[in-house]
């Protein structure tokens, strides 16, 4: 047996390596830097790492490689676009994470214990959240460029484990937060099992774990179709769980509500980009030739997801839960882009992911601003009359809601329009009809919040809007500007995406 030197191709891996290096340095900082400086040092380190990785991603755009890390990583145009989107969304989320006072002082302390009290009095902060974020980002970067099932699974776990922890770090209502984290972990583990089970079936079908090998078997059509189908179904469950598609969505409202809002923003926006990125790659390259088998299933799931998300959101009384259901509905819309299975669908999906991700972070950033003496207020009843007390904040939030609803002159409209037209072109008419219908339903609850904020007389126990810090302000303004710009003049970004949006195999 000869020993072959592994081909790693560091250039392709460099963004992830930078992030991982930053994360490790972060861990060391936790150990050695004094408590007083930690938040600032961690913030600078995290932002610097993310920016460096973003620059590096841009530097290697246009490179195409299937051989990196011994052929387990594939880098191409969509890989570049998705990584760039993840990094940009992560940067603006980190602003929120750094700003947020909603993290617990000592995560290990039992809620309500003396230890916790002491820790709060000492002014402790869980700066561990920064390296955790970086680890999660590294997993997210790897997820859409994995090119075999094992790497894909590793990436999935790598992005999930830090998120499980981060979900439990809320300062207030800590039991709810910890419950959410535990639920997320249990269900995540459950769905990971499905994923692995499916991966095993795919291996049984093709005798290979690489995407290229499985694809060759699908094209050749030599294997046992039942194996293939079960494999596709179970791998899909793992992925659909991450994006929150019905009926694998149940975790998301509880986790969105329980997790600190900054983490929710990061999770909702960045995870979705990574998970859909991986889905797009698998369905567009590996399973493309077995389209006959999975399109009907995925269409069914997409339709149920859109309608369920839109319908149930109507009944929500909590703004974070409402946004969670809205995110479920959006997962359904994005599935339409996967089903489209054409170039337009790929471009539209990537555009949608970026536009939706940015608007989501912006919307959650606004949620962090609405507080009373006890902290963030997410009960929608107490948002009444917000438009009169804080017209700017309410207007910006209203704008993000309009973007979610897909009203023209927002990025949401362009995204929805392009994704539905791509799906229509490919013949998925039922999905498009359901999509348009549920968009109409969704508009109902988005606009209801606007009515609540602007046209309803305010409650007595009114909330106040805190004056946003510089960091939060940057996030809100950046998200707002991007959402407007992509709605009014989307052509440059669409052209840019079109230039890169082709998977290599």
């Amino acid at each position: 047996m000869t020993f072959t030197a592994p081909v790693l191709n560091y250039t392709i891996l460099s963004p992830m390596l930078i992030i991982l290096a930053g994360a490790l340095i972060g861990v060391i900082i936790e150990a050695f830097v004094s408590k007083a400086f930690r938040p600032l040092v961690q913030l600078i380190l995290t932002l610097g790492t993310l920016l460096l990785a973003l620059v590096q991603v841009f530097r290697i755009r246009g490179t195409e490689s299937v051989t990196a890390a011994m052929g387990s990583v594939i880098f191409d145009g969509p890989g570049f676009l998705l990584q760039a989107a993840i990094l940009i969304i992560s940067i603006i989320s980190v602003f929120l994470i750094a700003d947020n006072e909603n993290f617990t002082a000592l995560a290990a302390a039992i809620p309500g214990s003396v230890e916790e009290q002491e820790s709060i009095q000492q002014g402790n902060k869980v700066t561990e959240v920064f390296p955790l974020t970086l680890f999660a980002v590294a997993g997210m970067l790897l997820f859409p460029i994995s090119s075999d099932l094992i790497t894909l699974f590793v990436a999935l776990e790598m992005l999930s484990l830090p998120l499980y922890l981060m979900a439990g770090l809320s300062r207030r209502r800590r039991l709810l937060s910890q419950e959410a984290a535990l639920k997320y972990f249990l269900l995540g583990a459950f769905s990971s099992a499905f994923f692995l089970f499916g991966a095993a079936y795919l291996y049984g079908y093709s005798g290979d774990i690489t995407f290229a090998g499985i694809r060759d078997s699908v094209v050749g059509g030599s294997g046992n179709d039942i194996f293939l189908l079960i494999g596709i179904a179970f791998v899909s469950i793992g992925l659909l769980f991450k994006v929150g598609a019905v009926p694998f969505h149940a975790w998301s409202p509880d986790v969105y509500q329980g997790a600190p809002t900054a983490v929710t923003a990061f999770m909702a926006a960045a995870t979705k980009v990574a998970a859909f990125g991986a889905m797009l790659r698998i369905y567009y390259t590996v399973f493309a030739n077995a389209q006959w088998s999975w399109t009907p299933l995925l269409s069914g799931i997409a339709i149920i997801t859109m309608l369920f998300g839109s319908f149930v959101a109507i009944a929500q009384r909590d703004v974070k839960r409402m946004l969670a259901y809205s995110s479920i509905a959006h997962a359904g819309f994005l599935l339409a882009g996967v089903i489209a299975l054409n170039k337009a669908g790929l471009s539209a999906s990537i555009f949608y992911l970026f536009a939706y991700g940015v608007a989501t972070v912006g919307a959650f950033a606004v949620v962090t601003l609405v507080r009373d003496s006890a902290g963030e207020v997410t009960d929608l009843n107490r948002w009444t009359g917000l438009g009169k007390r804080s017209p700017w904040v309410a207007s910006v939030f209203a704008f993000f809601l309009l973007a979610f609803a897909g009203i023209p002159l927002t990025s949401g409209f362009i995204g929805k329009f392009s994704i539905f037209s791509a799906a229509y072109e490919s013949g998925a008419k039922a999905v498009v009809i359901a999509g348009v219908l549920s968009s109409a339903i969704a508009a109902f609850f988005y606009i209801r919040v606007i009515v609540l904020m602007f046209f309803t007389d305010s409650h007595e126990d009114a909330t106040t809007v805190v004056i946003p810090s510089v960091l939060t302000r940057i996030t809100v303004i950046f998200s707002f500007v991007i959402t407007v710009a992509l709605g009014v003049y989307p052509a440059p970004l669409i052209d840019f995406i079109n230039k890169f949006a082709t998977f290599i195999r």
């Binding site: 269900l187 189908l229 179904a233 899909s236 009926p247 149940a250 409202p253 069914g300 959101a313 009944a315």
Partner: protein
């Protein structure tokens, strides 16, 4: 066609004036009126410069164009914002800026006591700019912008004193009736684009010979609708009388000399369409003939001096429309009458303003009388305008109106006789009501209110009147000498053969003068011989009552359009509330209750979530089993 990049200044100067005065606000109160007048005068100077350059070129190269920018570019639909200055538009440019500048000067004095004088001048400049855009646009779409612009300026100026609800209503009425006409213009543009694929004058002229008569007729009729709205022609004439609510200089400029003649311009400019669409052309002459009589008859019963002049304007524009509807032979005469009318009617309006200025804003002629003693200059300038509108030789109206009457008679057959007779009869009625205005205002015993102190107006007011009076005397002679205007405009219109003459020109002239003499005589007998009462007599015939009610034009509109329209809208509102809103609310509450039911699936127990995932997985496998079987 030659390019001339100076055309834009014609519009840019007054537009800048309006913008600066409106943006600077109160800060420009002190100098705003002078600035606006200078802007208008500079635009006139540019117009004169353009004319001198145009005269230096041979007849076929006189038209010049300027492309401003690419305006609309959608697939095959390309429209540039472009200006066209040719023999027709230069006439309008000089009339608009020339008369416009005079009226600016007049307004400096007339509006000197108004604290909003600056705003008034800003609107006047805006009007000048919009009107110039209207006549300089090189396509129907560019024209449309100017068309809407003058509508806006007219609305703003009629309602300038909108603190009086009646005036505000008048401006709204004018605006809404104009909208009806504007719809006609937009339909014409749409039809032109749909059938001919272009909206530029040059493009349509080129495409017209191959186009179907039906589509050209449709365009023509829609253009006529537009013209009736803007030019206060039957059946969209009812707004003009109320528009007299605006300050008198506005009535002189917008509602006598320029804007209301835009319909004549539109028809003349679209001559290639109407020449190829005889049905539309026939409708044009019918509208013209009806309106010239309609306006003249209304004019006989008006006691308000401005409303009498407004009715007269309506009637005179009827003559122009009639002339423009007579085809290539009539276009030049329509334009000639338009220009001479611009002089004498503007002059008379300014005269009316001068009278009002001296009579404490009294407009009721029954409370005038013997003013010639106190306002000699006003009397003379108004009198010259009077002679011009009557068509007494050698005053301006004689040349222009006579030619239209003559051409109408020569239209051939029954049509010619009917049109000619209508025009002739109109001339007689005109003589009657204008003489009535003269007698009631300037002669007889004074019937003033106690506080009235009639006096002559300041020089800034009578100087423009005097200049316009000179125009009323000479313009007709100058324009028709050697058929000057006819030859000038010749390159624009199709050739026309010689018509056989129904009546010799000298016969028509004699008949017209006879009618005028009869009209004047009746007026003298009725108003000069006996005492005029200070209030309108009530014991009059039904016919008089009807005429006093403007031939029931408002009653007609209210009964036929307004009340059914109101009923329709209130029904629609009810339908909206009951059916549409009801359905929406129903769907909303249904969604809410079903959402409430679905929501219960979210129990909060992780075991049930896991079960849900399991059920989902089983369902997927089952579905696969179904698919593969």
């Amino acid at each position: 066609m030659q390019i001339n990049n100076g055309l834009v200044y014609l519009i840019a100067l007054p537009l800048a004036g309006a913008a600066i005065l409106l943006l600077a606000g109160r800060r420009s109160d002190k100098w705003g009126h002078i600035f606006a007048t200078l802007m208008s005068a500079s635009s006139f100077a540019v117009g004169l410069l353009q004319l001198s350059q145009m005269l230096a070129r041979p007849a076929e190269e006189r038209a010049v164009e300027q492309k401003l920018f690419e305006w609309i570019s959608v697939g095959s639909f390309q429209v540039d914002a472009g200006l066209l200055l040719d023999q027709l538009s230069i006439c309008f440019v000089l009339l608009i800026t020339g008369v416009g500048t005079l009226i600016h000067i007049y307004s400096v004095a007339y509006m000197s006591h108004d604290k909003d004088r600056r705003r008034f001048f800003a609107y006047l400049n805006l009007f000048i700019a919009a009107m110039l855009l209207l006549v300089l646009g090189n396509s129907f779409l560019n024209l449309y912008v100017g068309w809407e612009g003058v509508g806006l300026a007219s609305y703003l100026l009629i309602g300038f004193w909108n603190q009086k609800p009646a005036y505000a209503t008048a401006s709204k009425k004018a605006f809404i009736m104009n909208r009806v006409g504007d719809m006609g213009l937009s339909f014409a543009i749409m039809i032109a684009f749909a059938t001919l694929g272009t909206v530029s004058f040059a493009g349509i002229k080129e495409a017209a010979p191959e186009a179907s008569t039906a589509s050209l007729t449709a365009i023509g009729i829609m253009l006529l609708v537009a013209a009736t709205g803007k030019s206060a022609q039957f059946p969209l004439q009812a707004w003009l009388g109320d528009a007299m609510a605006g300050p008198t200089p506005v009535s002189a400029l917008i509602h006598a000399a320029t804007m209301v003649t835009a319909g004549v311009y539109l028809i003349t400019r679209s001559n290639f369409i109407f020449d190829a669409a005889p049905t539309a052309q026939l409708l044009v002459v019918i509208v013209g003939a009806i309106t010239l009589l309609f306006g003249a008859i209304i004019g006989t019963a008006k006691d308000d001096i401005k409303k009498a002049l407004a009715a007269s304007t309506m009637s005179q524009i009827g003559y122009m429309i009639l002339g423009a509807g007579l085809g290539p032979v009539g276009y030049a005469f329509a334009i000639m009458h338009l220009i001479t009318h611009g002089f004498f009617k503007a002059g008379m309006f300014l005269g009316a303003g001068s009278v009002m200025h001296g009579m404490d804003d009294e407009v009721n002629m029954r409370k005038y009388g013997n003013l010639r003693k106190f306002m000699p200059i006003t009397f003379v300038t108004f009198g010259l305008g009077y002679l011009a509108i009557l068509g007494v030789p050698p005053f301006a109206g004689f040349y222009s109106k006579d030619m239209i009457i003559e051409t109408a008679f020569n239209a051939g057959g029954i049509k010619g006789i009917l049109l000619g007779s209508a025009a002739l009869l109109g001339a007689g009625i005109t003589a009657f009501y204008m003489t009535r205005v003269m007698i009631l205002t300037f002669t007889g015993a004074p019937r003033w209110d106690e506080k009235a102190l009639p006096h002559e107006s300041p020089i800034l007011m009578w100087l423009p009147m005097a200049i316009l009076a000179i125009g009323s005397v000479t313009s007709g002679f100058l324009l028709s000498r050697g058929d000057a205007l006819v030859h000038w405009l010749e390159p624009l219109f199709a050739e026309h053969g010689e018509h056989e003459e129904l009546l010799k020109p000298i016969v028509v002239t004699s008949l017209a003068l006879l009618m005028v003499a009869i009209g004047v005589a009746i007026a003298f007998l009725k108003y000069s011989r006996s005492e005029v009462s200070r209030t309108a007599p009530e014991d009059v015939s039904l016919l008089t009552k009807i005429v006093r009610r403007d031939l029931l034009q408002d009653d007609f509109n209210e009964a036929i359009f307004m009340r059914p329209g109101q009923a329709l809208t209130s029904t629609l509102v009810k339908t909206d509330e009951m059916v549409i809103d009801g359905a929406v609310r129903g769907i909303g509450s249904a969604a809410l209750s079903s959402a409430g039911a679905l929501r219960t699936s979210q129990t909060g127990f992780v075991r049930s979530y896991a079960a849900l995932i399991l059920i989902g997985a089983v369902a997927l496998i089952a579905a696969i089993w179904v698919v593969t079987q």
